[in-house]
């Protein structure tokens, strides 16, 4: 009953003209960036951080969450029609979605993807509404010792989301933590890495780091000219042609339901989220299918399951942020930055201190998913036409937006210079096969981790064993140990069995199209 009352509060917040407009803009922008290869939701939300300070904080989070799950919808459009995933979580949809399109079922594949995502979004939203307050209630029992251990577990899980090796991911976490220490130490008042540069006393802003690492570095990568946009397959845009036939509808029901539940629970894990959910769903569907040989050749389950899972995972990844204060992935890390800039500390107290924000965001997910399914079915052609915008023009627009956005944060050209510096650093790191997502997450979480670590050590009179004497803390550290060791042990025992590789790695090349 409480949930219904709270949801009513949330709908009261979201069903205002301003927030409905903000949700619509978020969904449209999200679908557009999902369609465009390269420019992902992390970069887009980073670019919008300076604008978000001009919005009411609930509106800004509704906008950003709309972009995130809108990108999940949009990413599948290019996966199906061009076999190029606009977004990492749609990589797996290329395998069967594109094959369906080649067999003349592009409309059905798009329809299954849109309706599956919609159903998963609703399931995930109900899940968040039911589980979120309970998780936050448990997290209220955490003190500095438990919080430090939880953040430690978060760092271990973050290592799993990196695209590169774990060693490189660990180095990026170290670099992120180091960058987070720049400025005046809030406990001792001592300046760290300031070098008499006054603006550095406040440290680097999250928006400056995020815009540089994701926005400017993306522009520099695009400047290399490796534009991989392909030819769009023909499809009919009539609503009737986007509806799957009876057999396809029946075939997609099970995968959508399984994908929604699996995606939701994987999305809850820090380090989880949409990409892991879509891959896991594909593996599951192939494993339990009576016709596993159809996978990769246009199996309906190969589209329905992963598409449902990635949307459920994307939405569920808000739970660790809103209830524990831990971002599950880089996109959520940037959204956490927006909350911090708005003076809201994400975590278990958020639901108590800012119920309108928590329930407003949840209600916006219901509304946003409805908007997306309405937008995506008839407007597929419009979104696909975005692929005709030359990358050079996009680069110029991103540069202008990043520069003015960075300046507007503190009316400081120092921030512009720092953002350009982070852009060049991000480009160099990405060229050297380092994934910058763990860097950003460690940067965002660093100060919180330091504060709780130091408080925990003070509580334990300097004895680090204090982190093992609290059962909750010991549990988190034990789980971190299992998460670290399990892949190594599994790899030794079952070296090849559980791998699903993205299309590029599985031998599907441009020539296969």
């Amino acid at each position: 009953m409480d949930v219904l009352t709270n949801l009513a509060l949330g709908f009261g917040v979201v069903l205002t003209p301003t927030n409905l407009l903000v949700a619509l803009v978020g969904c449209v922008v999200g679908t557009a960036v999902g369609v465009l290869p390269g420019l992902g939701p992390t970069a887009t939300i980073s670019l919008l951080l300076p604008i978000s300070v001009y919005l009411d904080r609930t509106s800004s989070i509704i906008l950003m969450s709309g972009i995130y799950y809108g990108a999940m919808y949009g990413g599948s459009i290019t996966s199906i029609l061009i076999k190029i995933p606009g977004e990492a979580a749609s990589v797996i949809t290329c395998l069967d979605g594109y094959q369906m399109a080649r067999r003349g079922r592009a409309g059905a594949a798009l329809g299954i993807s849109a309706f599956g995502s919609f159903f998963a979004g609703i399931i995930a939203t109900i899940g968040i509404a039911l589980l979120g307050p309970r998780i936050a209630g448990v997290a209220l029992l955490f003190g500095p010792v438990e919080k430090a251990a939880l953040l430690f577990l978060g760092f271990v899980l973050i290592l799993g989301i990196g695209e590169g090796s774990r060693k490189k991911g660990l180095a990026m976490i170290g670099l992120g933590l180091l960058l987070g220490t720049v400025g005046v130490d809030l406990v001792s008042g001592e300046e760290r890495f300031v070098f008499d540069v006054t603006p550095l006393r406040d440290g680097f802003g999250i928006a400056v780091v995020a815009m540089g690492l994701f926005g400017i570095s993306e522009v520099l990568l695009m400047a290399e000219g490796n534009d991989d946009r392909g030819e769009v397959l023909n499809y009919r845009q009539r609503l009737r042609d986007l509806l799957p036939n009876r057999a396809e509808s029946i075939e997609s029901v099970g995968p959508v339901m399984r994908g929604s539940v699996l995606g939701f629970f994987l999305g809850l894990l820090p380090g989880g989220g949409a990409m892991m959910a879509s891959f896991a769903s594909y593996m599951l569907e192939r494993k339990i299918s009576r016709h596993p040989e159809r996978f990769g050749k246009g199996a309906v389950a190969g589209v329905a399951g992963p598409e449902a899972a990635n949307n459920a995972g994307a939405q569920a990844s808000f739970v660790p942020l809103l209830c524990l204060g831990i971002p599950a992935n880089a996109v959520i890390g940037v959204i956490m930055g927006a909350l911090l800039m708005a003076g809201v500390t994400p975590g278990p107290m958020l639901i108590v201190d800012h119920p309108e924000l928590f329930w407003g965001v949840i209600a916006s997910m219901f509304v946003g998913n409805l908007m997306l399914v309405v937008l995506n079915v008839p407007l597929v052609g419009l979104f696909v036409s975005l692929l005709r915008v030359p990358p050079a023009i996009m680069s110029a627009l991103i540069v202008v937006f990043c520069v003015i956005g960075a300046f507007s944060l503190n009316n400081s050209m120092f921030d512009v210079g720092a953002m350009i510096g982070f852009g060049i650093l991000g480009y160099a790191l990405r060229k050297a096969k380092y994934d910058v997502a763990p860097l950003l997450l460690a940067f965002v979480l660093g100060s919180m981790f330091e504060q709780n670590l130091r408080q925990g050590l003070i509580i334990g009179f300097g004895n680090p064993l204090v982190f093992l004497t609290s059962p909750i803390s010991a549990g988190f550290i034990g789980l971190a140990g299992i998460v670290t060791l399990a892949p190594l042990l599994l790899a030794r025992w079952r070296p090849r069995e559980l791998s699903v590789t993205p299309p590029e790695a599985s031998g599907i090349t441009e020539s296969d199209r």
Binding site: L175, D185, S188, L221, A396, I404, L453
Partner: protein, 140 residues
């Protein structure tokens, strides 16, 4: 050889962080000091980068010279000193036009139109709508 540059530079950053951490103090007045976190970060950076130091397998390929990203970087770097002289929006106009026309070979008239539209749109959004006081030239 080029694969070693990243880990070597990051290792050096780790060593520098550890040296600074020592200076800040790991422990002071019976409590963790300001150097604790830089020490943790520096140790992670150093250990992870050192274990990543290994020569690449297979034939060595010299990376192609990426002049376009370097041109972008030069343009972005020039933006900061140029802004106090001519103002932020004119500096951005110069940058956008240079990127479009000289680096991306967009025809002159098209590059000029896109630049004008971008700068005008930015002025309307940020200066007029959001009241961001964009830096003006020292001369006008």
């Amino acid at each position: 050889m080029t694969a070693l540059v990243g880990p070597v530079l990051l290792s050096m950053a780790g060593v520098a962080a550890l040296l600074f951490a020592r200076e800040f103090g790991l422990w002071s007045f019976g409590a963790p000091g300001a150097g604790l976190m830089p020490a943790v970060a520096g140790t992670l950076l150093l250990l992870a980068s050192l274990t990543d130091l290994r020569p690449t397998k297979g034939p060595h390929r010299r990376p192609a010279f990426a002049w376009r990203p370097l041109s972008y970087m030069a343009g972005l770097a020039a933006l900061v000193p140029l802004t106090p002289v001519i103002g932020l929006l004119p500096a951005l106009a110069v940058l956008v036009f240079s990127i479009l026309h000289f680096i991306e070979s967009v025809p002159l008239s098209r590059a000029a139109v896109i630049t004008a539209a971008t700068v005008t749109g930015s002025w309307l959004l940020f200066e007029r709508l959001l009241s961001v006081p964009l830096p003006k030239s020292m001369f006008w």
